[in-house]
Symmetry: C2
Subunit: 203 residues, 2 copies
DNA sequence: TAGATTGTTAATCGATTAACAATC
DNA sequence: TAGATTGTTAATCGATTAACAATC
């Protein structure tokens, strides 16, 4: 799993290099830029196929494209946002879903007062339209920006509608109930506590 | 570092158990609930001191409090938010800083149009007040909710004002320039790409 | 060809799991 | 005391780093 966690980072740095019109890079160079060992770079990249050339290094453009393919960023997975609160809005407004392999196609909120309001380039829909919407549109992923206590019923519904991939901002443990779900958890409060720990335990 | 990453999770589960008035728990039980091995639980907990009792298990309340101390959640670190966009607002409005070891004491934005608007229970201040504010208030941590390109100047300023701890939502690499800074990065786009990878590589 | 740099194997390091003696 | 469960050591596993032969 750890190589995989590093792939987006490789992709980011290679994209930058590409934008700066850098054409080739050696593992040593890339390692320097990314603050890792050259060994790790070669090991990591080789584990997906021999993208380099001995005596030359790696073609930035080609390597970037290969990683893009491995990540599946061209698949255009269709995602819906559940919960149009501050976090949901932040994601809808500021994340470049298209660049990250997704298309955000709808947003739902259970709060009737929010329904109809704009979010990103969409309009907030009521939860009651979820089922119909998912029948009419392929929906690959649900982004859960709702409090833990609100997750279970809507998750059950999403699962029954065939959704198996979740970007989960709540502390609800999705895989406990649905072990075949693909889940990426974002636990901001855990991260903030980790920062607290680091400060509390300097040297 | 990995034990540390797990501590907030232990803390969360123990807090829940405590709320449910569970008084004691064995490593086996806790492991079950948390989906890890009992060995790991005992190893992890023991690495900070012998909080258990042979033949009995762990006192939920006591263990929770111990971990709270280790994390330093009682220190009340004072944090300021840099950037009052959607993400900044989401954090200010929806994160229980107090429960996570921090107190959010101010919010700054460079956009004059936002200055004076409310955010959480605060009012957005202009960047121009940063220096004065930090002179008048102990500021332990800066939360960077600004785009990568906007980071460098304000980071330089914050560093020169003595701030050494950063919760960084941008892709700017803080430790490259300031190696003594304590940094916790949140790279949402990397996480979304990881979800994409997982979907693209099922089985 | 000579120099550079990868691909890949082997060595090291660290983290996880298993096992069990200590002890409540 | 007997049963339960920790603390802790040893064994295993996986990930990182080092080294170098292959090769462009």
């Amino acid at each position: 799993m750890s190589v995989i966690r590093r792939l987006p980072r490789y992709y980011r740095f290679l994209s930058e290099l590409d934008e700066q019109h850098v054409e080739r890079i050696s593992s040593t160079n890339l390692a320097q830029i990314m603050n890792v060992t050259a060994s790790q770079v070669r090991q990591d990249l080789n584990c997906f196929g021999g993208f380099g050339q001995q005596g030359y290094g790696y073609s930035v453009r080609q390597l970037k494209e290969e990683i893009k393919k491995i990540l599946g960023l061209n698949n255009g997975y269709q995602a819906i946002l559940i919960g149009a609160g501050n976090f949901g809005s932040a994601l809808a407004n500021h994340l470049s879903f298209e660049k990250l392999g997704f298309e955000l196609i709808a947003c739902f909120d259970r709060d009737e007062n929010k329904v109809g309001l704009p979010i990103g380039d969409m309009t907030i829909r009521p939860d009651s339209e979820l089922e119909e919407f998912c029948r009419d549109h392929r929906t690959d992923t649900a982004i859960l920006c709702i409090p833990k206590d609100a997750v279970e019923p809507v998750l059950d519904q999403l699962y029954s509608l065939g959704i198996r991939s979740f970007w989960n901002f709540s502390h609800y443990d999705i895989t406990r109930k649905y072990s075949d779900a693909v889940v990426e958890n974002v636990h901001l409060s855990d991260m903030l506590m980790t920062l607290c720990y680091k400060m509390n335990n300097l040297n």
